[in-house]
Symmetry: C2
Subunit: 228 residues, 2 copies
């Protein structure tokens, strides 16, 4: 009966509306993510967000206080969704080598398929992490990502397939760097060097390269996949 999905809260008729606070907030956040991701914090216009919503500008301020409050909540939601997917990966039952490769491929593809999330993180970095600093929940969520990787590396060390001195944080940094840069700098990179690496085959090639460059220094036997 009730809209269990995320469908439109109201049929946009002016009079005769139903109360649905949750759906209204979700609607606003969805639009806000899109607009903030496209234009940045200062570039985004509250009026534009409101106009794209099924509700009114007043509601935006009613639920989120001000523009920065809306931005903060948008950022939180974006991180929450990403982290959820990472947890669902369930890598602990795979053998370490396969688990690591799968984590890399997942991260690379996930970032590639969610440019809006990447852009929000870029924007947040432009603002020196001011708003992430205000959200303890985001920080706590993300630390789990390195814990997950650390477990994989430890299992690998114990089985003798990974090097002893492989640092989880550094590996995570490297995976993030390539996966993130691949999306964040697409515009300038493509403009300068052409979009060969941005094509379907190019992206596959980069993903393989990411796997290889991460695994080679970590795996004891340097034979990541089908290299001769």
């Amino acid at each position: 009966m009730a809209n269990s999905g995320g469908t439109k809260p109201k049929s946009s008729r002016k009079n005769s509306w139903k109360q649905n606070p949750q759906a209204v907030q979700e609607n606003i956040l969805r639009v806000a993510q899109e607009v903030f991701a496209k234009n940045g914090l200062s570039g985004a216009r509250v009026d534009e967000i409101a106009a794209m919503t099924e509700t009114s500008k007043r509601m935006v301020y009613y639920y989120f206080g001000d523009k920065e409050g809306l931005y903060r909540r948008t950022l939180e939601e974006a991180y929450r969704k990403v982290r959820q997917k990472e947890v669902d990966l369930d890598l602990d039952h795979l053998d370490p080598r396969a688990a690591l490769e799968r984590l890399i491929r997942f991260t690379f593809r996930h970032h590639s398929e969610n440019p809006d999330f990447i852009r929000l993180v870029m924007i947040e970095n432009i603002h020196h992490g001011t708003y992430l600093a205000q959200s303890a929940t985001i920080r706590d969520m993300n630390r789990g990502a390195v814990d997950q990787l650390e477990r994989i590396l430890k299992r690998g060390r114990d089985e003798g397939v990974f090097r002893q001195d492989a640092d989880p944080l550094t590996i995570h940094w490297q995976i993030s760097a390539m996966s993130f840069f691949n999306v964040s700098n697409r515009a300038t990179f493509s403009l300068i060097f052409g979009d060969r690496l941005n094509s379907a085959t190019g992206q596959r090639q980069l993903e393989d390269w990411a796997v290889e460059t991460v695994l080679r220094p970590v795996v004891v036997d340097p034979r990541p996949s089908d290299q001769g």
Copy 2:
């Protein structure tokens, strides 16, 4: 006699000033770079830029037309300076292995020491490369970077120390990814995972890691430095 450097164009005395269009423009551009890098294109205020200048707002519009024109010129200047330093590196006389390592270390350190440049590129990517697309000179300058790398790789192949299938554009992409991400995501990364990798030793460690992860897949004999 004339100020051959980039010193202040006027002694800020109201009357009795010298004509020095070049110095005035340089002064404006220097301030603009600082403010745009700090606040982004939409976040930057023309009035603030003008106030920090040795000259007036009127002059900003006199020389650069409008805010976007100033931003475009700022971006051009930033790229120009970077590219100049890359050319000065003069890697063609080093043996391939050393040349590649030096290029990686230079890029990593240079980006690290010039966060404002990184931030301008981030901002430009937020704007989908709109302004870089308008500047053919920037594109031409930067393509040279891959040519330089390609020469190194070719020499390495010919000498039998590099693999045959090493792709210059992919290697450049990888070097850029780590060097860029290291600066661009400092704020969020440090907030979430602590600033261990951001310390002096952490940065040295990452630089070494960048060298290792790039060289290992490229060099035929997988022994990048002093690994046992």
